[in-house]
Point group: C2
Chain length 269, copies 2
Amino acid sequence: MIVVKVGGSEGIDLDAVCRDMASLVHEGRELVFVHGGSHRTNVVAEKLGHPPQFLTSVSGYTSRRTDRQTLEIFEMVYCGEINKGLVERLQALGVNAIGLSGIDGRLLEGRRKDALKVMHKGRRMVVRDDLTGTVDTVNVDLLRLLLDNGYTPVISPPAISTNSEAINVDGDRAAAKIAAALGAEQLIILSNVPGLLRQFPDESTLVEHIEPARAHELMEHAEGRMRIKVLGAIEAIEEGIGKVVFGDARIEAPVRAALAGKGTVIGPR
Amino acid sequence: MIVVKVGGSEGIDLDAVCRDMASLVHEGRELVFVHGGSHRTNVVAEKLGHPPQFLTSVSGYTSRRTDRQTLEIFEMVYCGEINKGLVERLQALGVNAIGLSGIDGRLLEGRRKDALKVMHKGRRMVVRDDLTGTVDTVNVDLLRLLLDNGYTPVISPPAISTNSEAINVDGDRAAAKIAAALGAEQLIILSNVPGLLRQFPDESTLVEHIEPARAHELMEHAEGRMRIKVLGAIEAIEEGIGKVVFGDARIEAPVRAALAGKGTVIGPR
């Protein structure tokens, strides 16, 4: 069992990811696919006249400002365009894929943050109406039900809050929770860079390997989006995933490359 | 077992539909929900700079011109915004809803029309690149798997072609296929009119009841969108559904009203 998360940034070759996923499924691998959609969400939000905004928390994490209108645009892109596009591609490759958001069957349930402490123009502010949160529980029964009946789940945020509101959650951290809940051997996180970079975006500063016990050290180097990726990896390792690999989604056979140790490996080589 | 289809036209009160659906589920009724999204698709397509176009077949049926870009906008609205909005509402009402398109798990599989004979400015034309079709088979095993495990399916077009392309299919006719495949007692089709009207849009011309054997006669009166609704009903009756009700989705408790015989009843009163 492997959980593969593919990001939603520009430059990612979803066709190559799907071909690779399909060939692994045909070899008998059990896969769960988690995806993002950030770049397309930005494009569509701009076109729909509700441009994207981002918040930086006081602890230095960046997240999408998610008011209700943004959440609905987010759902259109993640659960509509991207999710169904991936399911269609996989079906055409002979994989019986089934697309789900975290709301469906309460697949990803968590807490909504009722107060977000952010930095805005150098000042601390509190945002109270943001529809963001974190995943606490994964409906493993639903995933097992589908997997045991031959379906390959293709999962997308949003999650659902304990009060049943749709909430935007980080896709990498959601993938880490899913991998942990399923007891997956590996979590592979693919994006539009070769792995974790000591000095983003300098690709020659790729971190090739790090022992799980030292994963925290990566946080010293991580900036912006990378910080939350490292946080997800640390959480996954803490929850018992043996190995997390950050790989490149812009290449042919990106999942196999990551399985072969290309990228940043956290865990045994 | 009841299949409820709710349309996507303006004026429909989805909150009222969901409240009614939830109270029926809590009473122990087994429900499957099918929905549309035509009005919102028109609005979003317009905003995204790809305005909606419609085709009229030589036999008088109207359908959305579905090129690839339209299909993706369609998926954004139907599978993203509307589907997840309904699942979220139902979850908040204590129903463990799960949203699926016809692509997911090949839930709705059919044939793509490779040549569409249409009338355009009084002339017959053939359209070859339209991504539309009809549903031939329903993945009943998947629906039963979910229903038997306590999930309420919320289903939306598109369907998937035998060649694994996403295809736009009529929601009413898809609902009829689902109802027939599940052996449902009733199919309820809710829209923004009180039922079938002899002279659309004159609501005083409501057809209150018609014997299944005489359902074909309704086609004489039906125009535009109504023709395809009647066709769906006829197909449902022919496939063994005891009763089809066309009801009003603009009122409080619209499903219960239809169950009580308000609207157009095709079948025993």
